[in-house]
């Protein structure tokens, strides 16, 4: 996102209460179910079963003509098998159709039969097969058993990306009304309430206020509120017109992962940034990427529109994996040219640390911290270094997952790609196993994951595999170690720092972690950086 022109800021003193209604309010306020019916998702039509195969072929033709990746990937695969054992779902389920090339074959066989010369001539000899409702059943099962994580493509000699075929297949199914309930509901939430969590504007500002109050309680400082209130007592607020930065978090950060939101607010505060938030851009996620290019663009456009309306110079995306992948890949290409820059909060934070604009005291976080590379950041957007730089500065004991399981080789958590639903719990837990094992092997106490969906998945995954590991964002840890003048260290952090600890080898108790580590070094010959092998906080 380099060559974006800067917008001149002439609207600095527009009254924030005289703005045209923001886009999210044009949508009626109704339940997802009702909205689903009303929206009809523009391109969805419930097609009776009998007509589905025919309609599917029509939709396939459209997709094949629209995206070059689909035909080239289908044609190029040599069935060499290099991708076979790389998919976490294959590893977890051992179902042959979860091998990436075999998954693609479900689509390819129909493609061959109906769209290629070879398939028309040679039929099943080259694996071509007629489109039927049975095939469609297989599609539904296996294209909803793919998190679009792209691990397979890294191992393929041709870089064939099964995720692209999954997206195409899902879009085709959507055209005959076979979308995914969960994804549809989330998208309906977004169009209806403005974000995936379905938070109305008042709830949104309440939540931001809650985070500010948390900071005040814990640290005794007043951070700048990223909105304008007519009265200080008001619950409702408005975004600041003409602020320099618009911060767009995944709405889950205002709901469950509040520590991440708090971390972001502290970073902005410490850097003295002029930033705002807005209910009309209260969602960094973009579930369109999980099934439909139309929604993908539309949802992304809402952020662009709001940024333009407010006249900001920069949009910063929060800790969201697929949302950043979507934004990075399409925001300029589909909704540009842009009047503002686009940055990820991790890039932004890293830069502030490098430039010395924020200070971190890593001695406050002594537990072993590890990092899960969300596949959408690692493989979808090549965002790999900032989070490492940040964690090296925010925690004393940052340990990486084994190199063959991190960075672009990272295993997906198993909950991405629109699969984060209760109904798919069994699949999610099986698919999450490789990632859980990779993290277990590090022996960490805290897992940092800069992705809201990953967080939700790991919160279930860790207990499922009996791992006692605390899950949070990268910014959560920044929030613990950030040094702000006049602020006290949050009690919780202080306790963890100074708190009593116990040597698990001889059950001796100590007044602090440091003391225990000293003891472990002396008595058990365990070096200080491996202190976590012996000492546990109590």
């Amino acid at each position: 996102m380099s060559n974006m022109s800067e917008k001149d800021m002439s609207e600095k003193d527009v009254n924030p209460f005289d703005l045209p209604p923001s886009p999210s309010k044009e949508m009626p306020n109704m339940s997802p179910e009702k909205l689903l019916k009303k929206l009809a998702f523009k391109n969805i039509e419930m097609v009776p079963e009998k007509e589905r195969p025919q309609k599917i072929l029509k939709a396939m033709e459209a997709v094949l003509k629209e995206r070059r990746s689909v035909a080239t990937y289908l044609d190029t695969c040599t069935k060499c098998g290099a991708c076979a054992e790389r998919c976490h779902f294959y590893i977890g389920t051992e179902d042959p159709y979860n091998m990436p090339a075999h998954r693609v074959d479900l689509f390819r066989k129909v493609y061959k039969k109906h769209f290629t010369i070879g398939g028309k001539l040679l039929g099943s000899f080259i694996g071509a097969e007629e489109m039927t409702n049975e095939v469609l059943e297989e599609w539904r099962k296996y294209f909803y058993s793919c998190t679009e994580c792209r691990r397979c493509s890294i191992f393929c000699p041709f870089g064939i990306d099964t995720a692209e075929i999954t997206m195409a297949a899902r879009e085709v199914m959507l055209r005959v009304g076979l979308g995914m309930n969960y994804v549809n509901k989330i998208i309906a939430n977004l169009y209806g309430a403005g974000n995936n969590m379905g938070m109305q504007e008042l709830a949104f500002w309440n939540s931001v206020q809650f985070c500010a109050e948390e900071i005040k309680d814990e640290m005794g400082i007043e951070v700048e509120f990223p909105g304008v209130k007519e009265n200080p007592e008001d619950k409702m607020a408005k975004p600041k017109v003409g602020a320099e930065i618009l911060y767009v978090p995944p709405s889950a950060d205002l709901f469950v992962n509040v520590d991440t939101q708090i971390g972001a607010m502290l970073v902005f505060h410490a850097a003295g940034a002029d930033y705002t938030m807005s209910h009309s851009a209260s969602e960094a996620a973009d579930f369109g990427i999980f099934q439909d290019y139309v929604d993908l663009k539309e949802i992304n456009k809402r952020v662009v529109d709001e940024a333009n309306r407010l006249g900001v110079k920069k949009v910063i995306y929060g800790e969201c994996g697929h949302g950043w992948r979507a934004a990075k890949n399409i925001i300029e290409a589909w909704n540009g040219p842009l009047n503002f820059k686009v940055e990820h909060i991790l890039e932004y934070t890293e830069r502030l640390i490098r430039e010395g604009k924020i200070k971190l005291d890593k001695s406050r976080v002594k537990e072993v911290v590890t990092l899960h590379d969300p596949c959408n950041l690692a493989r979808g957007a090549k965002l790999l270094e900032p989070q490492r730089y940040i964690l090296r500065h925010a925690a004393t004991n940052f340990k990486e997952v084994a190199p063959e399981k991190s960075r672009e080789y990272t295993f997906c958590c198993g909950g991405g790609g629109g699969l984060l639903t209760e109904e798919l719990m069994d699949l999610r837990m099986k698919g999450g196993k490789p990632a859980a094992e990779a993290i277990r092997d590090v022996g960490a106490k805290i897992l940092a994951v800069p992705c809201a969906i990953c967080k939700a998945q790991f919160h279930v995954l860790m207990p499922y595999y009996n791992l006692d590991i605390e899950v949070g964002g990268v910014l959560d840890i920044v929030g613990k170690s950030i040094v702000i003048e006049g602020a006290k260290v949050p009690e919780e952090v202080e306790e963890a720092m100074a708190g009593k600890s116990k040597c698990s080898l001889c059950d001796a108790e100590f007044s602090s972690m440091d003391k225990c580590c000293e003891h472990a070094e002396k008595e058990h010959k365990i070096s200080k950086d491996q202190c976590n092998m012996a000492c546990e906080s109590m």
């Binding site: 094949l64 003509k65 629209e66 995206r67 070059r68 990746s69 035909a71 080239t72 990937y73 044609d75 190029t76 695969c77 040599t78 069935k79 060499c80 098998g81 290099a82 076979a84 054992e85 042959p96 091998m99 090339a101 075999h102 074959d105 290629t116 010369i117 070879g118 040679l122 099943s124 000899f125 080259i126 694996g127 493509s153 890294i154 191992f155 393929c156 000699p157 041709f158 870089g159 064939i160 990306d161 290019y293 990075k328 890949n329 399409i330 290409a333 589909w334 979808g380 957007a381 090549k382 790999l384 960075r407 672009e408």
Partner: protein
């Protein structure tokens, strides 16, 4: 001339030429006519020199595959290398250029014949073994067996057939595999004045199988050498080389 000889030696070659070149153009044009709505963003090395170097190595030594699936690399890389050598070797049947180059660097006609018989035969045997390896791999590995259709085995059997007939000709030492005879024959085809091909059944089998393979090339998975320029393969090797330190 019998019907078979006429078909394999005089009619089929024209079909092959049209299908092979026409097929590739048709496929590439087809791909190029589709838009790329979402270019997947990756970071490239900055300097052009580095880019060229990485792309060349991606195509020539499959470094990505070496790093990530060594068992497959040990089948696929030697296979492609000897395939390339074999293609260059067959060039002699159409043109003098390879011979002239060899002569320029000091080979005698006899020396070239010697090189061809020793080196060519060795390469042929390696090719045979490499294909066999790929076939055994496909049959024995559960993952591959699961995702293969009949044609996936058939291509490999076919290649074995081509290699076997080719090697047989070498071992039997058929006199008309003489360069001059073949060049005359091929130039007859190219100048649209076809003359009778050699009629030995082993040669005709080799020739028929090879032509059918060439015809199917643009329409099968064997289009992958072109496909790699359209997929992410080269881009990946650019990125990953940079990041695996």
């Amino acid at each position: 001339m019998s019907v078979i000889v006429t078909f394999v030696g005089i009619i089929l070659p024209y079909i092959t030429i049209v299908a092979f070149f026409g097929g590739f153009i048709y496929r590439i044009k087809g791909w190029l006519s589709i838009p790329v709505p979402m270019p997947i963003s990756v970071t490239y090395p900055q300097s052009r020199g580095e880019q060229v170097k990485n792309i060349a190595s991606a195509i020539l030594i499959f470094p990505d595959l070496f790093r990530k699936d060594r068992n497959l690399w040990f089948g696929a890389w030697p296979f492609h290398v000897v395939l390339a050598i074999i293609i260059i070797g067959h060039w002699r049947l159409f043109m003098d250029i390879p011979d002239r180059i060899l002569m320029a660097i000091g080979y005698t006609t006899q020396g070239i014949e010697h090189l061809s018989s020793v080196f060519g035969t060795t390469v042929g045997i390696i090719f045979f073994i490499a294909v066999l390896y790929l076939l055994v791999r496909r049959i024995t590995q559960v993952t591959l067996r699961n995702m293969s259709n009949p044609a996936d085995y058939f291509v490999l059997l076919w290649l074995l057939g081509i290699a076997a007939t080719g090697l047989t000709m070498r071992f039997v030492g058929l006199p008309y595999t003489n360069i001059a005879t073949m060049q005359n024959y091929f130039w007859g085809i190219f100048t649209l004045h076809p003359i009778a091909p050699p009629t030995d059944p082993i040669f005709l089998t080799h020739y028929l199988l090879a032509q059918l393979l060439l015809i199917s090339l643009p329409f099968s998975k064997l289009i992958h050498p072109i496909g790699i320029f359209f997929t992410q393969g080269i881009k990946h090797s650019l990125v990953v080389q940079k990041q695996v330190r």
